[in-house]
Amino acid sequence: MAASDEVNLIESRTVVPLNTWVLISNFKLAYNLLRRPDGTFNRHLAEFLDRKVSANANPVDGVFSFDVLIDRSINLLSRVYRPVYTDQEQPPSVLELEKPVDGEIVPVILFFHGGSFAHSSANSAIYDTLCRRLVGVCKCVVVSVNYRRAPENPYPCAYDDGWIALNWVNSRSWLKSKKDSKVHIFLAGDSSGGNIAHNVALKAGESGINVLGNILLNPMFGGIERTESEKRLDGKYFVTVRDRDWYWKAFLPEGEDREHPACNPFSPRGKSLEGVSFPKSLVVVAGLDLIHDWQLAYAEGLKKAGQEVKLMHLEKATIGFYLLPNNIHFHNVMDEISAFVNAESCG
């Protein structure tokens, strides 16, 4: 057992830069401590260890941010990131934070951070940084939702919070594009955030809110059977099947298994997406992510249902590649996302 573990560690070190390896291994180690075998979670230690950053209304590299309590009854917070105002020199005052967006078409990305439904927050440093990068690259507004997490708040809390946030974004007059006085909304997320984006998009379709596109980065899906990629890559690149099982158990309702549509949207229990109003999707899959078979199946499922989907299959990428801008995948994906959300404005 020890020998093959050694091989695993060495292998993962060859495919990512050293600082990426240190970062993700640090998370893996910390997360192992937090998951208890009895299904409970050491939340205090999790919050203690998580590195957080505050919002900053003073622009840094052309982006400023502020937090909004969008639903006081459930303490639902979101962090808004905006490009600096070009028509003024001084940083925005508190009254200017919600100044109307200035453009014919201004995409608004509603972002759901990852963490397998249990970890991280909107103000986690890794996600604050990612959202700032998105604003910089796409020249859009990003709203990052601080959704409730498992195991304390299992299904459907995260989806409910996502739905509330979508309605909030959709009803902000200051986010409306000049062209049609509507908010141009994209849903995005990594890991569990990608899963949430899918489910919120479903509900949006049923309720008549127009979502222009979904961006799913290494989305968290699964199912009952063990796919080939899960068996082959188990434990090799920071993630194990066992930890995936733990998170699903923590998120899904008591007594449910991984055939639940929240876990596997294309299981027999899932609703068909044929003929359903659903946004075009950009699905990014890392080839060294052990659940990539499920992610590929997801993209395939969308296609079969006649939905528009663009698949980016990055065979040499691992989980978390998008957290640091020190690899080619990061830059390729950022470019794709920018093209995806700005497609309407390109002539």
Partner: protein, 545 residues
């Protein structure tokens, strides 16, 4: 180091460090220079790892991984769960600590070090005959966001703003307030006069926290416009009232409790084996911090130490006899719980008047602790005072110095900047009071008055009268660092207990604790409001465990 500057850097194809075999000598030299610096990409994400250490840290991570993967019965994981963690940003020492925990397990594995008994007494003070509240850990308590202001030393200030979604209604009010302050800054007093009246009208019809905050700020602005010099703005003139207000503030919301609680945690960790403990409290007030500490010392494994408390009071209070009464009550309490106790009070006009001899420390038989809760910032009102005070503190050789301060910069040179900072800060504070719906209205009103007096001082006072000169942790870190103090990180056990304390309060979900660079910050939503930190003399060993 600017956040995010790497965005503009076009990366070469990824090369795992440290294989830096570049041909160009210029590039090679640059690499050499960079190796001793922190890895910039990880720094932005909250982790401080030197590039030169990266491989070593990776190796330690691998080692830990090995140990844990061979841990079939989960005993190693349990050990690490119970361990107290410190300063997670310093990855190298965090990993190292865990490795050594596993290699040298605690001598007494049955002792749960993470549970000092401080949480049993959130509502207890020396005089009130209150029921002790048992703190029960509810199994499904949701503790969500942490809070913090991770500002790099040396970069521009971070402006952390939380909007509560009823923005629309308060907009005109905030607008008028800010415009009035701008007019004052620009010395356009007639405009300011018109605006402050407008604020008054708007505030009267504004419900909730916003209206109350605006009223206090308007009062402050009015005083500034009419050059009213009210000496009662300086709280030490009417100390008895100040103390009553503070007591209501203490009862009604968690800020003071958090301050006392976390400071006591740090103290307890520093005196685990001390035979004698001498606490010097720079602001005795009603002594509310000490019963809980004494109680925890009473049940310390190995028996309580001899406990000596020296409380500093402002000269004006000393005459009233209330301090002696306080000392006597604390002595009674100590006797009741079986702790040998000694009490002394020192009356000074200003903390900078303190001299080391006044404390009569007994280095052979006691560990000296210096405690300052919301006192240090006052000393900034006179030039040279803080340096004098810190020199005195160093001279008494404390094992640990606990500092609690407001997390805000209300000491900037420009009035308008101070005004804006304070407006954000106190809006958050008042907002948090609004949410505690289990609050007795009398407690809340008193708390608002208590805070209102601070607002008046920040906005209207100047020179030595302006004592509410709050500064951020980053700023205090700079001051204490240059004065010869090193930080002592507060750990996960203090964090956990502070979090649990917060969950007791109605509206507890809105309060967040966050660990940041070794200190603990308490905030409302994501806005940090209070910071607790601990310090020791530079170069001294940390006496812990």
């Amino acid at each position: 180091m600017k956040r995010g500057h790497v965005e503009t850097f076009v990366p070469p194809p990824p090369q795992p460090q440290p294989q830096l075999n570049q041909s160009s000598s210029c590039e090679g030299k640059m690499m050499e220079d960079n190796n001793n610096n922190m890895d910039e990409l990880l720094a932005v994400l909250g982790y401080k790892v030197r590039s030169s250490e990266m491989a070593e840290v990776a190796q330690k991570l691998e080692q830990l991984e090995m140990v844990l993967s061979n841990d079939d019965i989960g005993s190693s994981t349990n050990v690490l769960n119970d361990t107290v963690h410190y300063n997670p940003s310093d990855l190298s020492s965090w990993v190292e600590t865990m490795l050594s925990e596993l290699n040298n397990p605690d001598l007494d594995p049955t002792q749960d070090r993470s549970d000092y008994d401080l949480r049993a007494i959130p509502g207890l003070s020396a005089f009130q005959i209150k029921q002790e509240q048992e703190v029960e850990e509810e199994s499904n308590k949701r503790i969500r966001l942490g809070v913090g202001s991770w500002s790099d030393p040396g970069t521009e200030l971070t402006r952390s703003v939380v909007l509560v979604d009823s923005q629309e209604t308060g907009v005109r009010l905030v607008h008028a307030l800010v415009a009035c302050a701008e007019a004052i800054q620009g010395e356009n007093l007639s405009l300011a006069d018109a605006l402050v009246k407008r604020v008054g009208t708007l505030a009267a019809t504004q419900a909730g926290a916003m209206g109350k905050v605006a009223t206090y700020f308007a009062q402050g602005l009015a005083r500034r416009i009419y050059h009213t010099t009210e000496t009662t703005v300086n709280s030490t003139v009417v100390p008895a009232m100040e103390e009553v207000l503070q007591m209501h503030f203490y009862e009604s919301c968690p800020y003071l409790k958090f301050a006392h609680f976390t400071a006591n945690q740090a103290i307890l960790e520093a005196v685990t084996t001390a035979r004698g403990v001498h606490v010097i409290d720079l602001g005795l007030n009603q002594g509310m911090q000490w019963p809980a500490l004494m109680q925890a010392l009473a049940v310390r494994p190995g028996g309580p130490p001899f406990f000596r408390l020296t409380g500093i009071v402002p000269t004006q209070t000393d005459n009233s006899g209330s301090v002696q009464e306080l000392g006597w009550k604390l002595a009674q309490f100590a006797q009741a719980i079986g702790v040998e106790f000694e009490f002394k009070s020192l009356a000074v006009e200003s903390l900078s008047d303190l001299e080391p001899e006044m404390f009569e420390t007994r280095p052979e038989s006691e560990t000296v602790i210096l405690n300052s809760v919301f006192e240090l910032h006052r000393v900034l009102s006179k030039s040279g005072s803080i340096e004098k005070l810190l020199t005195t503190v160093k001279a008494i050789k404390p094992s640990i110095v606990t500092v609690v301060e407001q997390e805000a910069n209300h000491n900037g040179i420009v009035f308008l900047d101070r005004f804006n900072e304070a407006l954000h800060y106190y809006s958050s504070l008042f907002d948090s009071l609004e949410d505690s719906y289990s609050l007795l209205s009398q407690d809340r009103v008193m708390s608002e008055v208590y805070l209102g007096r601070q607002i008046l001082n920040v906005v209207a006072a100047e020179g030595s009268d302006r004592v509410e000169r709050h500064e951020t942790f980053t700023q205090w870190k700079g001051r204490l660092g240059s004065a010869g103090f090193d930080p002592v990180p507060l750990g996960s056990s203090a964090f956990k207990q502070a979090s649990m304390l917060l969950s007791l309060f109605a509206g507890g979900d809105g309060y967040r604790v966050e660990e940041n660079d070794g200190c603990l910050m308490l905030g409302w939503q994501t806005r940090p409001l209070i910071t607790t930190s601990a310090w020791k003399l530079a170069g001294a060993a940390v006496s812990r465990r």
